[in-house]
């Protein structure tokens, strides 16, 4: 049994000896809330190295004075944004994979290459998959989403090895691309699109566009892409429908539940999908199931009955635990979509709030923003965006915009150039 020092009190925990020694300085600190009187740095632990978690880690660490640890098992960050450009052949695999090294070398952030297994909120420790623990003063929870495999009858994690979801990025994304490239002319591709709320609302439809781009480039005449949707409308619908008609006439068919009559089952062994309307024998089935906040957030009691985590819109703090902040896809961010851009925006508000609580930073009123580009065909990109502020207990849209149908080609080309430039700047903002 070992001891660690926490908020001036000694607690028995299973922390390592190193933590114990490291915490000795804090014995001199009283239980005073004012951190400036403490001699040990306050500890921020960040769970999840995506757009939300990595941004919080960097923005809290860059001005110094806080001990920041990022818990993320992956060696590199594979971005969900622009993963469809990888699928479409516009970007190489390396171009959507990024090292975390600069977070350590430039900002002194400690990296723990393990999965966080559980949060002990009473003891303020994170338990790691490898058995160790990390004590925290503030905890940032950004696990992203988990997939509800059983939301699609017949689907499972095992089935995803033949029918990829490719909605958590890495090997699944590469599998989907290999399967796409192997489709012969005349093949049927089925995409099952998820119910709201889910990560990246325009993503399934940009994905269909990129698949069609690949098939068209291979001169396919008979291949078809059938989107079986669980909703009756989707993000940027008018823009995608216009683009599909223009670039891929007859190739992409979108069916809402009224048309397909419900998704009855999928079978990975026979590669079939059964709906109320028809049975499809497919060359490729991309099942994107319903989603919840990452399991660790659910297990820690941070989510409500929706499966996502309520937050205070002023600062992204959990409404159930004053020491915990939640950003990104796992949070209930009101009118904001679940996107990398939104997570990065929320992260900056959370970082400011965390620094104001434990490092004497100034706090300004929360402001949020989001922009999301989608590529329909080469040089034909569209965008949607919004500004958001706290209002009546939630993050509410102040102003939004969306590309218009019928825009001139040069504007669409500029929009794609903006999309490409955004990605570079965004990754530098997050990890550079």
């Amino acid at each position: 049994m070992k001891f660690s020092v926490h908020q001036g009190r000694i607690k028995m925990t299973s922390t390592t000896r190193r933590h114990f020694l490291g915490g000795m300085g804090a014995i001199a600190a009283s239980g005073l809330a004012c951190p400036a009187f403490a001699q040990a740095k306050q500890k921020l632990v960040v769970i999840g190295g995506g757009a939300g978690g990595a941004t919080v880690a960097k923005y809290v660490a860059k001005d110094g004075g806080v001990d920041v640890t990022l818990v993320e098992p992956a060696a590199r960050y594979t971005t969900g944004f622009h993963s469809n450009l990888f699928l479409g052949g516009y970007k190489k695999w390396e171009a959507i994979n990024h090292s975390y090294d600069q977070l350590t070398s430039k900002y002194g952030i400690k990296r723990v290459r393990q999965a966080a297994q559980a949060i002990d909120r009473d003891k303020r420790v994170v338990r790691l998959a490898g058995g160790g623990t990390l004590a925290y003063d503030r905890l940032l929870v950004a696990p992203g989403i988990d997939l509800k495999f059983d939301s699609v009858p017949g689907y499972s994690e095992a089935a995803s090895e033949r029918m990829p979801h490719a909605w958590k990025h890495g090997p699944q994304t590469q599998l989907l691309q290999r399967q796409l490239n192997a489709v012969n002319d005349g093949g049927v591709i089925v995409i099952i699109a998820p119910p709201n709320p889910y990560r990246c609302p325009p993503g399934p439809y940009e994905r269909a566009s990129m698949m069609a781009h690949v098939l068209k480039a291979k001169k396919h005449k008979k291949s078809r892409i059938i989107i079986l949707d669980t909703k009756s409308a989707f993000s940027k619908q008018g823009l995608f429908m216009e683009g599909w008609q223009k670039h891929y006439p007859g190739m992409i068919e979108w069916q809402d539940p009224k048309v397909h009559g419900g998704i009855k089952s999928v079978d990975a062994k026979t590669m079939t999908v059964v709906t109320g309307l028809a049975t499809y024998k497919a060359a490729l089935v991309n099942v994107i199931p319903a989603q919840t906040a990452g399991k660790i957030a659910l297990d820690a009691g941070l989510a409500d009955q929706s499966g996502f985590c309520p937050i205070n819109p002023e600062n992204m703090k959990s409404t159930v635990d004053a020491n915990i902040f939640i950003v990104g896809d796992a949070s209930i961010a009101g009118d904001m979509p679940k996107s990398g851009f939104a997570a990065n925006s929320q992260a900056k508000v959370a970082a400011m709030a965390i620094r104001s609580e434990i490092a004497g930073g100034r706090a300004f009123p929360a402001r949020y923003s989001n922009t999301c580009w989608s590529l329909i065909e080469t040089d034909d990109a569209v965008k949607v965006g919004g500004h958001y502020q706290p209002k009546e207990g939630k993050i509410a849209a102040v102003e939004t915009f969306i590309s218009k149908t019928g825009e001139p080609a040069d504007l669409r080309k500029k929009t794609q150039e903006e999309n490409i430039a955004w990605y570079t700047a965004f990754m530098a903002d997050m990890l550079g």
Binding site: A33, C34, A36, N344, G360, R362, S369, H387, A425, D429
Partner: protein, 113 residues
Amino acid sequence: MPKLGLKCLPLLMACGAIMGSVGPAVAQAEGDRALGEYLSSECVSCHKLTGPSDGIPSIVGRPAAHLITLLTAYRDKKRENPIMQMTASRLSDEEIAALAAYFASLKATAQGR
């Protein structure tokens, strides 16, 4: 609460923040740098701080007056681009000044970031 020299009074600042007495920043005539830095975090999601920029122009190292002119023109919808029009629309004159002062100040320090 007196005006706070940001780096000079960390103890006072820290406790002030906890007591809630440091509210929304008071923008100063020449541009409040701390406010500018916070507001700038929105800009740098798209605008790179260093290196060449294609597709989205660089905003580092421009004179403050130039940035004020540009942001005001976007706010007045006299320049195109819905993202920039929207971004500028919620900025007050003081906030535009703070942002311009912040990005102008990066001229000397941008390399270190």
